[in-house]
């Protein structure tokens, strides 16, 4: 049942005759160029926009990182003042965490997950567009603090009471606070949307234990977001109340306990680090089996270790606070919990290695980055376990050893995984492969630069170099390794930019050759997103795929012969769907998501500068909500098919929820 036999309502389809409830912003009727991107509700385009926006913010965060490294390159350097240095490292951390790593995870989740579960789109396409726009506009608002707010200067964790007016009188922290609140709204709506999609819109036959590992990790990630974001929201609301309305939540003079901030922040913050890394784990769990030519080793262990990380991630937050005086009992409990959480992570490492073992490895760029993740993340994981030991952690807290640790897990882990994902799914998104030659340069420069940058920080940290210090003296002896790290950072920057260069160079080469079809299944893939054309057509699947096993597409290509030996019975191209959109019905584009999202930063500026400015923001928000509510999600003119003549009579059973739009229009 479901999506069959209806007139085509593709964005590129016939012009629709939508009613115009609010004049100019009624349903967009012609869709070309910019207007298409602004109003699209297609999960693939939204995923690509997430990726592009994250790359934009990556440049900002990267420039900040290079400024930090330049400042620290030599002793007693005066390139950045203390104030400027505070802002630069704060914005580096904030931008990289909230506006780069999380959105790239969202980019993959949005683009891939519906394809992997065999859905036409996510559950709520307009809310999906809203999630993206509010993230992007909130992120832009946060970054305007560089110009008009004085820059946030409290670190990405923004500890109280240092984040109060008394210690940070500029509006920089207000931008941090309100900007991230706005971005958080997008994370929340996005998580609800994606969880609903995974749980409720799987292709027939795709039981939970037949879902690809990436989809599983997306599910776990989004559950973490769903429950972690509100805790951060509360912390930020309390801080906003303190800073903007003179409340006393973190006012020590009035008896407040500033540790409340640390608890709230890390109850959010530790699930946060797992929700940054799990999408990358999911990506390499797809890449490694494909290029090792073997099924993933221990699929159930892979899934359950991901779920275990998701649960245990909630019980380890205070290991960020071992030196804040939380008492020996708490320290012991969180210390033990932190050691335990290394177990499911270790299971994953073991399973990837066991998948590689005995495989016929194809060492292309995607595979190299995946192996890069496994090795670099293992180093970061091991230094992480050394933080679980409270006595050792007490020595390392607030030193460069910590900086080394989390860059090994977040850059060497998450970002390497994302790079693998870019190389692997690029043809599915854009229709051409990235160049392997440039890819190898990309990989090796990144690995070398990465280890030169962050490897020495272990030594610096153990020598006692503190984090967040603007400079150091010659006599402290930190000069050599800092200089190495700075050189490494520039190599790393060049290496990272190469992925963008590669995208451009490969595109131009592809265009010169007349844009040949890369084929539905360029890697001999395993999951069903490879059974549709590349780039993925707007409607995804011509017909709902029916899934009968894990790695369903691969099992359709390879089947055992009489002797039990696996033989290829079909090529991917033979099985691929032709990409014929006849009879497919898609949700229609809309202006309202971007309009609604645009109202939020206006309200945010109003909170910071003048409450009067909130009035236009609230008016715009009301208008947008009204327009959104009046505009049906589906295009009614294209929606008068007869697609439910199969099983839905007048439905009056106890569920009583047979609700079709036609009946009310």
């Amino acid at each position: 049942m479901a999506i069959v036999e209806e007139p085509l309502a593709l964005p590129s389809g016939q012009p629709d005759k939508a009613e115009k409830p609010l004049g100019a912003l009624s349903r967009p009727s012609e869709l070309t160029g910019l207007k298409d991107w602004l109003t699209t509700v297609d999960h693939k385009k939204i995923g690509i926009m997430y990726g592009a926006a994250a790359m934009f913010f990556l440049v900002i965060g990267g420039v900040a990182a290079l400024l930090i490294r330049l400042q620290l390159a030599t002793p007693d350097n005066t390139l950045l003042s203390g104030d400027a240095y505070n802002r630069v490292y704060t914005m580096h951390g904030t931008v990289m965490v909230f506006l780069v790593v999380m959105p790239i995870g969202a980019a993959f989740a949005n683009f891939l997950m519906p394809l992997q579960v065999g859905a036409r789109d996510v559950a709520f396409p307009r809310i999906n567009a809203f999630s993206f726009w509010i993230f992007f506009l909130g992120g832009l608002m946060l970054n305007t603090s560089w110009f008009i707010g004085g820059g946030a200067d409290g670190g990405w964790f923004n500890y109280a009471p240092n984040n109060g007016i008394a210690f940070s009188p500029s509006t920089g922290i207000d931008f941090w606070n309100i900007g991230l609140l706005i971005v958080g709204i997008g994370s929340l709506t996005g998580s609800i949307n994606l969880i609903t999609t995974v749980l409720n819109m799987r292709a027939p036959g795709m039981t939970l234990m037949k879902m690809p590992v990436f989809t599983w990790m997306t599910l776990v990630t989004q559950f973490l977001l769903l429950f972690a974001i509100p805790v951060l929201t509360v912390a930020q609301v309390l801080l906003a109340a303190d800073r903007l309305f003179d409340a006393n939540f973190f006012n020590v003079d009035m008896g407040a306990d500033p540790l409340l901030w640390q608890h709230l922040f890390w109850i959010f913050g530790h699930p946060e680090v797992y929700l940054m890394i799990l999408p990358a784990f999911g990506i390499v769990s797809e890449v490694i089996p494909t290029f090792a030519r073997k099924p993933i080793f221990g699929y159930p262990f892979m899934v359950f270790s991901g779920i275990a990380i998701g649960f245990m991630g909630w019980g380890v937050w205070a290991h960020h606070m071992f030196v804040s005086g939380i008492g020996p009992l708490s320290v012991t409990a969180f210390s033990v919990a932190t050691m335990f959480i290394a177990v499911p992570t270790g299971v994953k490492i073991l399973n990837w290695m066991a998948t590689l073992w005995g495989g016929r490895l194809i060492l292309n760029t995607a595979m190299l980055f995946s192996i890069g993740l496994v090795t670099q993340f293992t180093i970061g994981g091991l230094s992480g376990v050394s933080h679980a030991l409270a006595p050792s952690d007490t020595q390392q807290t607030d030193t460069y050893y910590i900086v080394a640790h989390f860059h090994y897990v977040l850059f060497g882990g998450a970002l390497f995984g994302f790079m693998a994902g870019f190389y692997f799914w690029w043809p599915k998104a854009f229709g051409y492969k990235l160049s392997e030659a440039w890819g190898k340069w990309n990989f090796w420069l990144m690995v070398i630069g990465f280890n030169l940058t962050f490897g020495p920080m272990h030594i610096l940290g153990l020598q006692g170099m503190p984090r967040r210090m603007q400079t150091y003296s010659e006599a402290q002896g930190f000069g050599f390794w800092n200089l190495v790290a700075t050189w490494g950072a520039f190599i790393l920057a060049v290496g990272t930019v190469l992925v963008l260069v590669n995208a451009l160079v490969s595109y131009l080469a592809w265009k010169r050759e007349g844009k040949p079809d890369v084929g539905a299944d360029p890697w001999d893939g395993r999951t069903i997103e490879w059974s549709i054309k590349s780039p993925a057509p707007g409607h995804n699947f011509d017909v709902d795929p029916v899934v009968s096993s894990l790695d369903d597409f691969w099992h359709r290509k390879y089947q055992p012969d009489e002797s039990g030996k696996l033989r290829r019975v079909h090529t991917g191209e033979e099985l691929a769907q032709p990409g014929d959109p006849t009879g497919v019905h898609l949700p229609a584009p809309s202006y309202w998501p971007i309009v609604l999202a645009a109202s939020m930063p206006i309200i945010g500026y109003g909170l910071i500068f003048s409450l009067w400015l909130m009035i236009p923001g609230i008016l715009l928000m009301t208008l947008a909500l009204w327009g959104w509510a009046l505009e049906p999600a589906d295009d009614l003119d294209a929606d008068h098919g007869d697609h439910h003549d199969d099983d839905h009579g007048p439905d009056t059973d106890s569920s009583g929820a047979e609700a079709e739009l036609e009946t009310v229009s």
Binding site: I3, L238, F245, D544
Partner: protein, 239 residues
């Protein structure tokens, strides 16, 4: 293996329902997307209120500790906002903020809010059965009861403010107004949803087949009520 033909009738789909704002995809869980999303949202809200309630409890405890210890900054701030010396003395004597509450009044408004859950259920039942006249009555009654609760909260806030409990004058004031205010905003949001349903109903757009929309608003409304039961117990009743 030729699995690429159109899918056969999928077991469980006959029971699955379409959600009303979405293109009709089959539903893997037999639950509409909208309902699943509402449950997820409410799950997220649990953490929001959990964190707010924890912050309130911590702040109140710290406030009492400081007042009992005679911290002059804290006490002078209360007095400067016009809090009578007797109330401050009672705080110190009882080591509790209990002297501040008007339990009978808040109990009455809590009862009113809880009764609105009953009318909400009746409204859903009426729409479900196609009894549109009664559905409007019950929707309006729910909105009215909710508004009465909010009016009570506004009255209570005003009274407390006049007694010297200001938002910026003490840790306790900040925490109390933030927690109960957050809940009040949630109730207000619910009232707006109820009024929207009422408008839909008068325009003939809230028919039997859209009973799920009422059910979803009901889920939210009951959640907000349950949170109030927690807040009422934790803030007002437990000394």
């Amino acid at each position: 293996m030729t699995t690429l033909e159109a899918p056969a009738e999928h077991a469980g789909d006959a029971a699955a329902d379409h959600d009303d704002h979405d293109h009709g995809h089959h539903s893997s869980l037999g639950l509409s997307n909208m309902k699943l999303a509402m449950w997820l949202f409410l799950g997220s809200e649990c953490l929001l209120f959990g964190a707010l309630i924890s912050s309130y409890l911590l702040s109140k405890a710290r406030f009492i500790t400081e007042v009992v210890a005679g911290n002059p900054t804290v006490i002078n701030s209360l007095l400067a906002d016009g809090m009578p010396q007797e109330i401050v003395d009672e705080f110190i004597a009882e080591a509790s903020v209990e002297p501040f509450w008007d339990i009978p009044f808040t109990s009455a408004s809590s009862f009113i809010l809880l009764m609105s859950s009953l009318t909400m259920v009746l409204a859903h039942k009426a729409v479900h059965e196609g009894d549109y006249r009664n559905s409007r009555i019950w929707l309006a009654a729910t909105a009215l009861l909710g508004s009465t609760f909010i009016a009570g909260q506004v009255y209570e806030f005003t009274a407390f403010y006049r007694e010297g409990l200001t938002y910026d004058g003490s840790l306790f004031g900040s925490a109390f107004y933030t927690l109960t205010g957050f809940h009040g905003v949630h109730v207000t949001g619910g009232i707006i949803m109820l009024l929207s349903l009422l408008v839909l109903s008068f325009r003939g757009k809230l028919r039997q087949d859209r009973a799920e929309t009422v059910e979803l608003v009901g889920l939210y409304w009951h959640f907000v009520d349950i949170v109030w039961v927690l807040i009422f117990t934790i803030v007002y009743l437990i000394p």
